[in-house]
Symmetry: C2
Subunit: 236 residues, 2 copies
């Protein structure tokens, strides 16, 4: 796949995926991390980059990278005291990318997506994550409800974000092993997914808007859950 | 100005700004909130909307709305126990819009921007805020350092977000009147702005990424500060 943008390409070069080739404008070629990247760099015109990446948002650089390697959801559950994000049909690549970046920063073990009706890890998601997906486990599951059931069997607690939930998110002592579940912007969690959670938690709205963005809700909840975890798990 | 997108136009129609005219596709015209909006609605083709709004992201609707009315920064400081966001040269309209939406949800009194080198409230910002800017005070100031000085004189505490700060954000009891200060993505706070804060706070990074997005950092800090405020101030 083609990855574009400065952060995504920079992180991809350092990350576990094989980077086959980089294309850069004359200007971008001078970036410090492109002086000796260990992969062939070809200097091209901006128009060529736009054509290769399919977007004008390439910031002067793109790379051909091996396909994204999805993680195994069961392995995520096996990580000790895992903090996991499960997204119920989040379809906007910007939102998926943002949430991946925040999840990586919050020390999450990974992000779980349903196979259908969900954004997957495309170049736009790599870009929106600022490259964070290179360091983050992302798993696809056939059925999110089954995954939550497996998570509960493995001893994790599943917390669903629901604007109408009675339990405020900050009244909860998050379990050391937690799955935070978010629905798509606008529609929220599907009823069966909400029912599969141990607890639904709400984020208070102090203004007139009807909801936070899913990316803001994820940031608040991820850091609330991360704060409650034992210090030793914070930096593995 | 032209506002586009379903949420932005819907919120604008209900909000304080005068909406002069709405253009919608035949499909969008049937949206419940467009059946009797109290302003003239003209049915047009999608291409016409794209031309009027200057983007394909119009979601079938756009409106001509009077110019955005900026708030007075001094008035923001006069609000009792105000929670204020100050952005130091945040130039990305998406980031400004996202932060405005989260600030509105967190009950912030307003957002303060420097006049120069900052995104201002454009149609793209209205869209990214999902219309939240209609319900939020946004002020422009000539000099952010002077504004922070004024805020401190008015009894507010200024907290700057700085990845390298010694004080973790969650070790702080936020003052009832607080200004949260964020720098631009990538460059952070300018030294003079950082020096004008009472305290710099950091958000922990538990993974390998070097920083949270400014929108995620703002969400985490806004809700941390909002949580510590007296209940009565939460919903004025």
């Amino acid at each position: 796949m083609i990855v574009y943008g400065r952060n995504p390409v920079r992180v991809a070069i350092r990350g576990p995926r094989r980077v086959e080739r980089v294309w850069a404008t004359k200007n971008a070629r001078r970036l410090p991390w492109l002086t000796d990247p260990g992969v062939p760099v070809e200097v091209v015109r901006a128009e060529d980059l736009e054509q290769r990446s399919g977007t004008p948002s390439h910031q002067g650089v793109c790379a051909r990278v091996e396909p994204f390697r999805y993680a195994d959801a069961q392995q995520l559950l096996d990580a000790p005291n895992a903090l996991i994000v499960a997204l119920d049909q989040v379809q906007d690549p910007q939102n998926l990318g943002s949430i991946c970046r925040t999840a990586e920063c919050a020390g999450a073990a990974g992000v779980v997506l349903p196979e259908r009706r969900s954004a997957t890890v495309t170049a736009a998601v790599c870009k929106a994550s600022a490259g964070a997906v290179e360091h983050l486990s992302v798993a696809k599951v056939r059925n999110l409800v089954d995954f939550l059931r497996d998570a509960k069997s493995a001893g994790l607690w599943c917390y669903g974000a629901d604007a109408d939930a009675a339990a405020p998110y900050d009244s909860v002592a998050y379990s050391e092993g937690s799955v935070l579940v978010f629905g798509s912007e606008g529609r929220g969690l599907r009823p069966r997914v909400a029912a599969a959670c141990d607890l639904l938690v709400s984020l208070p709205l102090f203004g007139r808007m009807e909801s936070l963005s899913v990316t803001a809700a994820a940031a608040v909840l991820l850091y609330a859950a991360a704060a409650g975890r034992p210090p030793l798990d914070r930096r593995p």
